[in-house]
Symmetry: C2
Subunit: 245 residues, 2 copies
């Protein structure tokens, strides 16, 4: 039986087909996820074609899973279909704004996560690519996404061909707040993060990155402030182009 | 065994406690959800106190589930904890931007949905309140959320005390696109939406709302363009106040 406490991302996939029958069954079952006003403000683009995966790869910084996975799924916030429906039904939609984007993104992400859960229950392995909104314009161009459609999540999917380790997580007390948000203190930050910092894999991670602390890997190498601000600006431009701003 | 095709939102809850032991076990197991760089950019505020639920209710347009549920969970995009950690570790974070907000919101929503799935597997019932970002400032004030924390989802949770119907969904073909996005046509919109429009509950829904079409309920009554634009502006202001813009 599937045990979520053992879940891990899978980046290497076996040479075994993920049938359309299985994929469609999972995508359809996931539709029962809650959705705003039962509008289902999402779409999924399914890529199996090698040439299409090759064209998507650069948007994901050429992470090898994109070309290596039998299936790549791009989950999109989609107000286009709903808007088309409204226009064809004498209704006057007004979903060209940030609220509507966030509502559709929420629908898409909840749907995506139900899909992930159902797929993993079946023994499939997947990797969630957070890079989707970093180079959204490339994805929009490649997948020919119209206005009011914005990619928000990408999943590479296949049968696992690796026994990846389970990642550590913060203790529950670090993420829950009873009744109201309790400010973190120097002491509580130490209590929650020191066990993570002392893990051998994280000490090794610091060593190979040549930083003094684990946190510096994130601020100085992986998600640098200047990069985040520049990508944010590009993201605003893409949201504007897609008519969500 | 839990069958997701039977899932439905639950708005009425039995007078039966949801133990801290069960709640914490579910929240902890959900932590295994994928998260950006293993940073876990989310927090959850747990409300059981009647007075706190009473204060939260107006932000959710006084939907009765908020005061009626034994537990209300507010899932937040949280870059505050990570930033505190960085600052205490000689690292210089730069997460005061839209990209970082969306990264944290994605983490929070994926985590939330795993939690929902695990809770429903246990027989718990829940309702997802999409209203969270409509009146985010009220929630921020009530729950004392600091800068770089933004509420993105609220769940009311308890043991079901109703046998709610399962909602219809669009056929799978309406939401998937093979290889690239295929524009919808008048004919495909009809094919995908007519079965929904012909359901007795939706005909009744149109009748009691006094509209001509089902779509008009959404554009003229529930999610009006002018309202969306006004709320969007308020949302931009809140994101700015929380240092995400």
């Amino acid at each position: 039986m599937y045990d979520i406490t053992k879940r891990r991302s899978i980046r290497k996939y076996a040479e075994r087909e993920v049938s359309d029958e299985l994929l469609h069954s999972l995508l359809q079952r996931a539709e029962q996820t809650q959705t705003m006003g039962n509008l289902q403000l999402y779409s999924v683009v399914v890529n199996r074609d090698a040439e299409m995966k090759r064209r998507l790869a650069p948007a994901h910084f050429c992470q090898p899973m994109v070309e290596g996975a039998p299936v790549v799924l791009t989950f999109c916030a989609d107000y286009n279909r709903c808007t088309q429906w409204c226009l064809n039904r004498k209704a006057h939609p007004g979903y060209d704004n940030l609220l509507s984007f966030l509502n559709a993104a929420t629908d898409a992400l909840l749907y995506c996560q139900t899909f992930c859960h159902l797929a993993e229950e079946q023994g499939l392995g997947l990797c969630f690519l957070g890079t989707t909104i970093y180079n959204a314009q490339q994805i929009i161009d490649t997948l020919q996404l119209p206005k009011l459609v914005m990619p928000v999540a990408t999943i590479t999917l296949g049968w696992p061909d690796e026994d990846a380790p389970v990642s550590d997580r913060l203790p529950l007390q670090a993420i829950i707040h009873e009744e109201s948000y309790k400010p973190y203190t120097t002491e509580s930050i130490d209590r929650y993060y020191t066990p993570k910092e002392q893990l051998e894999e994280n000490r090794h991670f610091v060593e190979i990155n040549g930083t003094e602390t684990l946190a510096q890997i994130f601020t100085d190498i992986r998600y640098k402030g200047d990069d985040c601000r520049a990508i944010s600006q590009a993201l605003v431009d893409v949201l504007r182009k897609q008519n969500f701003l």
